[in-house]
């Protein structure tokens, strides 16, 4: 599934870990910075000395640049009318795009969704509504396990704090924002000035909109890294109620194992309803009609939703750093933890068993995702395509004096920055995933304790922030002592390997002890094994205590924060350079290329199609027959393909050949979960819930060779509503049939 919450992201110290995500400095065993000879024929840098380049082994002229290498996540500001006409022969006019835009929704939880009736009925994924199902459960109910179906409107249950937003209007505010930065000198300052202005406009337009209609909200969206700004006005529905959710066992059929894969058989669907302020179902003339015919192989389909971001627009040297340092180190760290945690897969029955099971699943799924990306980057074709594209930019750049004057050294600066990162990567390697829940709770609590003490010591820090940190620290779950000890051991080994055995930090930390005995000593002499002990220490003053972790974290934390800070400064610099690169691309190609995704509404075109996989062909569809095949085939080895009771013996009228999942070539990213997949008449034919394993490398270059978006086929939803759930009210509503009851 592409919803970020379920992608195995670890809870971490948000205030500490600013730099971890993007430049992800965390990688690498022992790094030698090898100055590689320049092998590129046309060094595009007129001004400076030759730059360190990573060898491009593929001849640039051998590579076909894909027209859509940068992706197909089109904005509604600048819809691809001509392309749609050229490729699909459809006359998508402004009314067509307006209808596609107004039927689509963004959930406050980060997912996408759509209206599928004129009474505010909302279609989204089960995994997007998962928290809502939990939130509306009453004492003694286990709705997640048993599913939920509101028999009448009165039975629909309001989900606390959940809202949905509909993109009501778009206004270009680029010139207003840019006017604020025209006189500002300095890159950083200019970026800041624009962002300040954007916030001001957001506030101003937001207030004005709210006067007209209190359900309207305004958000200024930065596109092309600040080359374009648009004010998006959203209509917000704040009363959202749960209408239907199937059992999690069918919604998440195949579990973490099948996550990111196809062929797939999950009924990952849920229905919500938007209500107006008077407590009546919202009137929503802008909704998508339900296609009873569904889609066929080769059909044009359009995915409308809110994708997050990709890494398609950076430099090749950044990709190489990612490929050679960041991802290999993260994958190695994940593999070590997966090996350690594998024996606990499926463990349950106590809080610590659950914690271990969750940790195992998070680890293995993140490993799956990162390995998929790494495999993509290690594919010569991918880097070759990006290299060819970069050459194209360089060639085009030097055709213009003004552009070459301004951006001539841009790639060189990015390349050099990667060299600086490489030099630091070696030290950082030992701290990969440090400060996240993917490791020892004892060390993590110690790190929180260290941070908490320092925040308090500073005095000028907002008490609310300190309270939040404390709350977060005390919310950590517990691991059994022996598992925690092996995680501490692993961490100490990783740090020692990264720093070298002679490093003074490790030497002073270890003294005469071995890593094994130090880890054992920490676990034997700490109160940080659970939150109760931790809370006491926080009150008494953690750093002043004689807890065994104090000395350890006192040695490690300063080193960690120093490296973090260094990487963060690299990251800031890189952000600026990447923004300049976006500006350069925009100067060269304008809006022909869509801007990178920005968690705002996009439309992506594609076709329903299978692909080659596993030595054969993956079909474009799966059916309920495959669901039952998996249910029976895997029953000896896992509960992940288990079926809820009511699914075990379906009524005779239930047609097993009904298409269940469907794949299409639409571009997507995390955040697209719950997006409607529409045919050219803007009827909903599918509900997007994941990308296949081959789509992971689309992070770097969009490809439609084997990468696919996976949807639940609407026919399967209807068949299930009719024959499994007997949800006649819902069936009539989505089919817009007159109410016969």
């Amino acid at each position: 599934m592409t919803h970020s919450q379920r992608n195995g992201l670890f809870m971490g110290l948000p205030l500490l870990l600013v730099a971890l995500a993007g430049c992800a400095p965390s990688a690498v065993e022992v790094v030698q910075v090898i100055e590689q000879p320049l092998v590129v024929e046309e060094a595009p840098s007129p001004a400076a000395e030759p730059v360190e380049e990573v060898a491009f082994e593929v001849d640039r002229f051998d590579v076909d640049l894909g027209r859509f290498d940068g992706g197909k996540m089109w904005t509604f500001d600048n819809p691809p009318v001509e392309w749609f006409a050229e490729e699909y022969g459809i006359d998508a006019d402004s009314a067509w795009f307006a209808k596609a835009r107004l039927g689509a929704l963004r959930l406050s939880s980060g997912c996408s969704a759509s209206f599928v009736s004129d009474q505010g009925l909302i279609l989204t994924n089960h995994h997007c509504a998962r928290e809502s199902v939990v939130d509306v459960s009453r004492d003694g109910e286990s709705l997640l396990e048993e599913g939920f179906l509101a028999g009448t409107g009165a039975d629909e249950r309001k989900v606390p704090e959940l809202y949905v937003e509909q993109l009501w209007a778009i206004t270009d505010v680029t010139s207003r924002v840019h006017s604020a930065s025209r006189i500002v000198r300095g890159d950083t300052e200019r970026v800041q000035a624009r962002r300040n202005k954007a916030s001001a406009i957001e506030e101003e337009l937001g207030e004005a909109a709210a006067v007209r209609d209190s359900t309207l909200r305004v958000e200024v969206v930065e596109l092309y890294s600040g080359e374009r700004y648009a004010a998006y006005t959203y209509r917000r529905y704040e009363d959202v109620r749960l209408v239907m959710a199937p059992e999690e066992q069918i919604g998440y059929f195949g579990g973490e194992s099948d996550n990111f894969t196809f062929p797939r058989y999950a009924l990952d669907v849920a229905f919500l309803r938007a209500y107006d302020r008077d407590g009546n179902p919202a009137v929503t003339p802008n909704h998508f009609a339900w296609s009873t015919e569904g889609a066929s192989v080769g059909d044009a389909v359009f995915l409308v939703g809110n994708p997050g971001s990709t890494s398609r627009l950076g430099s090749v040297s950044q990709l190489n750093f990612e490929r050679d340092y960041v991802l290999p180190q993260q994958v190695a760290a994940l593999e070590r933890r997966a090996e350690l945690l594998r024996p606990f897969a499926g463990s349950a029955g106590s809080d610590t068993a659950d914690a271990l099971n969750n940790m195992w699943f998070n680890t293995s799924n993140t490993l799956k995702s990162f390995s998929g990306k790494l495999a993509g980057l290690r594919n010569d074709t991918l880097i070759a395509r990006r290299s060819a594209a970069e050459y194209q930019v360089r060639d085009d750049l030097f055709k213009s004096d003004s552009l070459s004057g301004r951006y001539g050294s841009l790639f060189q600066q990015l390349d050099e920055l990667q060299l600086s990162k490489r030099a630091e990567a070696g030290r950082m390697a030992g701290f990969t995933f440090f400060g996240t829940t993917l490791g020892s709770r004892i060390l993590l609590r110690a790190l929180y304790g260290y941070y908490y003490a320092n925040l308090q010591r500073r005095g000028f820090v907002d008490q609310e922030i300190i309270a939040d940190v404390r709350k977060e620290a005390l919310a950590l779950d517990d691991l059994p002592a022996e598992v925690d000890e092996s995680l501490i051991r692993l961490r100490l080994q990783e740090i020692q390997e990264a720093l070298g055995a002679q490093d003074p930090t490790m030497r002073s930390l270890l003294g005469d002890l071995t890593i094994d005995s130090l880890a054992a000593d920490i676990v034997a002499n700490t109160s940080l094994t659970d939150s109760a002990g931790f809370a006491e220490l926080l009150d008494e003053g953690f750093l002043g205590s004689d807890d065994a972790t104090v000395r350890v974290i006192g040695a490690l934390a300063p080193l960690y924060f120093t490296i973090q800070q260094q990487m963060e400064s690299f990251q800031n610099r890189e952000d600026l350079l990447v923004a300049e690169l976006a500006a350069l691309r925009f100067a060269l190609y304008g809006t022909d290329v869509p801007p990178d995704a920005s968690s705002s509404l996009r439309i992506s075109d594609g076709r329903v199609d299978g692909y080659m996989y596993n030595g054969t062909r993956a079909p474009a569809f799966t059916t309920f027959y495959g669901l039952y095949d998996h249910f029976h085939a895997y029953r000896d080895i896992s509960r992940e393909w288990d079926l809820p009771e009511r699914w075990r013996n379906p009524a005779g009228a239930f047609e097993l050949s009904t298409p269940l999942s469907m794949v299409s070539t639409n571009d997507l990213a995390a955040g697209n979960s719950g997006s409607p997949l529409l045919n050219q008449n803007l009827e909903v034919v599918g509900l997007v819930y994941d990308g296949n394993i081959e789509s992971l490398s689309n992070e770097y270059v969009y490809s439609d060779r084997a990468a696919r978006a996976i949807s639940v086929d609407v026919r399967a939803i209807l068949e299930s509503l009719r024959h499994i759930y007997r949800a006649d009210r819902l069936v009539q509503e989505v089919l817009a049939e007159p109410d016969v009851l």
Binding site: S257, N614, P619, T623, D629, H632, I637, P659, N692, I693
Partner: protein, 370 residues
């Protein structure tokens, strides 16, 4: 002679020459001295994976067991087959018959012999059963004056200090009993692929010299249940002449970002049929489609075991001498080669429904002609 390898003698003809390697060793892998010293298996063991080689052979696997497993196995062409009734009925992969040079039946036809008299002679096909293995130190001790229908092959150790003689009984009256059409034996036209949904098997009967069904005490009982995940299985086959037995494990492997199914089912076959739009390599005739649907669709169809197939057509048997599958293809995975097998439960179900071969199905259930 095509069966001869390094040094070989057929019906008394000794061919001696210089050999530079130990022919015993060459014929197979190591003899499992570390397992049960008491078992004089005269037999070569292989292990599909190192983990299997470390686990002890089950207690029931003694010299008699090994001999029975060997006697229940047949060599045909470049394939293996397994006897499955006391009256000479044997099962193999459909490919093994279709690849015969003398095979003349059209690929798209189905054949089911309703009675013994309908069974159709397979000209040019000889199958062999390894009935005895003899070790001796003087070449003069080799068998002489073998009766008709018996062949012997002698292999010498490198220094000619010891000899081993394989005595084969050969059968040239072999008749076709059941073969499904190629569009189901080759469903999906896939090679080297798992998960797989093919109905790949054929049944034939071995007749004795008097044109009577071969009476045999050595055969495998037909198992009609779906296999278990991590079930221990064995396969006996003939490598280039020497028999060997592989101990393996029904297992899954990482594939496509997830884990492969322990076995596939008839549900899965229909999923493929409908998913691919009921066309091309995944097309089924109306007879097969409706016939398959008459079954319990949860019936196992194909499964995968660790290691490469000992030989196409080899029977996969459990420790109780029951046959659970027929090896028909290899698949290369990130975790090494796996062998893809046809499930006997699937075969039995389809014999009764689509193929209307009740007589054969009853024979498999009764382990003898009714």
């Amino acid at each position: 002679m095509r069966y001869c390898s390094i040094l070989c003698r057929v019906v008394g003809a000794v061919l001696l020459g210089s050999v530079t390697v130990d022919a015993f060793a060459q014929a197979g892998q190591s003899v499992p001295v570390s397992l049960d010293e008491n078992i004089d298996v005269k037999h070569v063991w292989r292990f599909a994976q190192e983990t299997e080689s470390r686990s002890p052979l089950p207690r029931a696997v003694d010299a008699t067991w090994v001999e029975n497993a060997r006697l229940g196995s047949l060599q045909l062409h470049e394939c293996a087959a397994a006897l499955v009734s006391a009256d000479g009925l044997a099962v193999t992969s459909a490919t093994c018959l279709r690849s015969l040079e003398t095979w003349i039946r059209p690929d798209d036809s189905v054949f089911v012999a309703g009675t013994l008299s309908d069974e159709c002679n397979l000209p040019g096909l000889t199958v062999r059963q390894l009935v005895e293995i003899r070790d001796f130190t003087r070449i003069e001790d080799a068998s002489e004056d073998l009766e008709a229908g018996v062949e012997a092959e002698v292999i010498a150790a490198a220094d000619s200090s010891t000899f081993r003689e394989y005595i084969w009984r050969t059968y040239s009256d072999v008749r076709l009993v059941v073969i499904p059409p190629a569009d189901v034996t080759d469903f999906g036209k896939e090679e080297g692929v798992y998960p797989r949904y093919a109905i790949d098997f054929a049944l034939f009967r071995v007749y004795d010299g008097q044109a009577q069904p071969l009476e045999t005490e050595s055969y495998f009982a037909w198992n009609d249940r779906s296999p278990f995940a991590r079930e221990r299985l064995f396969a006996t086959a003939f490598d280039a002449n020497a028999p060997f037995t592989v101990m393996t494990l029904l297992n899954t492997f990482s594939y496509n970002g997830t884990v492969s199914p322990p076995y596939t089912t008839l549900y899965g076959m229909l999923d493929q049929y409908y998913s691919h739009g009921a066309t091309g390599a995944w097309e089924l005739t109306e007879d097969w489609l409706s016939g398959i649907k008459e079954n319990d669709l949860a019936t196992a169809l194909n499964f995968s075991v660790v290691g490469d197939c000992a030989q196409t057509g080899a029977g996969l048997i459990n420790v109780d001498m029951e046959i659970l599958g027929i090896a028909f293809d290899n698949t290369d995975t990130a975790e090494g080669t796996y062998c893809v097998a046809m499930s006997t439960s699937g075969i039995l179900a389809l014999l009764r429904t689509v193929l209307k071969a009740e007589g054969v199905a009853d024979e498999l259930a009764e382990q003898a002609l009714p």
